[in-house]
Symmetry: C2
Subunit: 335 residues, 2 copies
């Protein structure tokens, strides 16, 4: 079979090191990929491209439609619009899928039974980026919620649940306060949920929902929510499942998709061969499933689990005083 063309960005900070490790693992597992490397982030921004992506890079993304992206750092400067946000919007990546699964006992967690998938709306809400100064002392930011936006993400969540054999979709909103915007999200959740009688559904006010998620994540299955709640609560869920450093994320659109780690570029660890490539690797596993290479995805996932089981750990996960081995990024990838 033909290799699948994908676009790759090595990113900043620990990005190059974890991307190298990830691509080496994919190759060893027999992934059929043809990679096009693009430059994104700080350098591109400083060269005058406000989005942090050069026009030629957009061409590659529009051609391959599959983007594996390492973390990038946020340049300082007023004009900068988050690269993550521009990419999500320009490529129409409306769904952000973040599996938060415990891998106990290999990765310590207080919630070994946890296996939650957060489906975050990825384009609307306060992320529309519409902000202005109304008077000298008053600033406004617009929260935008649209019916098509709600329909798309809610339908995606139920389809995802069905496809992955999951039993329940929960909705988090604050519609006791935001009766129109969050109220719309809730209304659409009920409308579309009714079309999936095989999947249970419930909804919670986001404050109580967040408290329950932090306390007893085991009770949740798939949770769908607007952009900002999803941003905050996927970090919470990934962290209590084990570590933000081990979670990957898929940004899905009708045409294109982007896969990444949910953590940042950790500039202080750059070039030290210590970072954990697991987050990006988990993103890559989602990518392999997306492009129809489930066989490779399974091999990668099994090798990764086996490495953790063997007690081979990078510094973020390794516990001193145990019989497990402390290794660097390269050695972890080799294992």
């Amino acid at each position: 079979t033909q290799p699948t063309p994908i676009t790759v960005a090595y990113g900043d900070g620990i990005g190059p090191s974890i991307m190298e490790a990830t691509l080496r693992i994919l190759e060893a597992a027999g992934a059929r990929l043809q990679t096009e490397v693009i430059e994104v982030g700080e350098k591109v921004y400083l060269a005058g491209h406000a989005s942090g992506i050069a026009p030629s890079a957009w061409d590659s993304l529009r051609r391959t439609k599959v983007f594996l992206k390492a973390p990038i750092s946020t340049p300082q400067g007023g004009g900068y619009k988050s690269l993550n946000v521009s990419t999500r919007k320009s490529l129409g990546l409306f769904a952000n899928v973040r599996p938060c699964t415990a891998f106990a006992p290999m990765v310590p967690t207080r919630h070994p039974g946890m296996d939650v998938v957060i489906v975050r709306e990825n384009e609307e809400d306060l992320y529309a980026g519409i902000e202005h100064r109304q008077t000298e002392e008053v600033y406004q930011c617009l929260k935008l919620i649209t019916r098509p936006g709600c329909e798309r993400i809610v339908r995606y969540a139920f389809e995802y649940a069905r496809l992955h054999g999951r039993k329940r979709v929960t909705c988090f909103v604050k519609d006791n306060i935001m009766k129109m915007t969050d109220g719309l999200f809730h209304e659409v959740f009920d409308e579309i949920g009714a079309l999936y009688p095989d999947i249970a559904r419930d909804s919670m006010i986001v404050d109580i929902g967040a408290a329950r998620l932090a306390d007893t994540p085991e009770r949740f299955d798939v949770i769908v929510m607007p952009n900002l709640y999803g941003d905050i609560l996927s970090d919470v869920a990934a962290q209590i499942a084990g570590s933000i450093g081990m979670a990957g994320s898929a940004n899905i659109g009708d045409q294109c998709a982007m896969f990444e780690a949910i953590h940042g570029s950790a500039p202080d660890l750059a070039g030290k061969d210590v970072a954990n490539p697991s987050g990006l690797l988990q993103g890559a596993v989602q990518m392999l499933l997306h492009i129809g290479q489930a066989d490779v995805a399974t091999r990668v996932q099994n090798a990764w689990l086996r490495t953790l089981e063997d007690g081979v750990h990078t510094a973020d996960i390794h516990r001193p005083g145990t019989s497990t081995a402390l290794v660097g990024t390269r050695e972890f990838a080799s294992a």
Copy 2:
């Protein structure tokens, strides 16, 4: 000394039962109070007062300036504006102070060392309640952040830290996305923080901050944040400290103050004498400190801790199979 006049609302659901218990404890501890009871909530709303508060009740609140409020239920119906929100705004209660402290081993928690105070801005942000339908399919809600609003809450947080011997104030914002609104909050945090060289300060993006709070709350001391983040994360913090059912909250303004439990009215438990009065009691302890009855506050707090230590628990906290005693609301209050 003269008794202090306070306004009391028994609320809905479990409200009357936990208020009765709380007032009985305060009386037994020698609190010098003269209570005026007002009616709020569903009945008042149905009688035609959209805020759920009758004009005569506002008079009482403006006179006593101290409000001890039991949980109220949210009436169904489009015109209803949250009573909590109307009260906070009408009385200018700009600071919501939510201590989230573990009481281990009496109350089970994974975080026995936790002692966090969340200082939540209480009037601005998406709670301004400005929402509209822009087109048939597009809804907007306005997030408002003002310089005076930020200054007031940040100053309050640092003053609170100083007064209570706390060492650090942390700020949670999402200013990598909301550069103007959350950017202003962050800017004011640094400006005002610089005036408190005796208090350490740092700031985190709210997603990472939330993840750290859920994972290792022990590392935090005082955290100050805009309204909505504070709503969500104070529920998270209270729950992982032990239970949302045990946390009280103070809503502080220049003139008035309101004290409450952070939990809701739990209509299904109404009239069963099973609810835990601890959340409202913790609110009442903050009230006693506020009105200068620290001696009584100490007596109440000690009696409460002693009751928990004695293993006297309501059903929400009691663990079957232990030698602790399962009691109802009244018996807990008597203990």
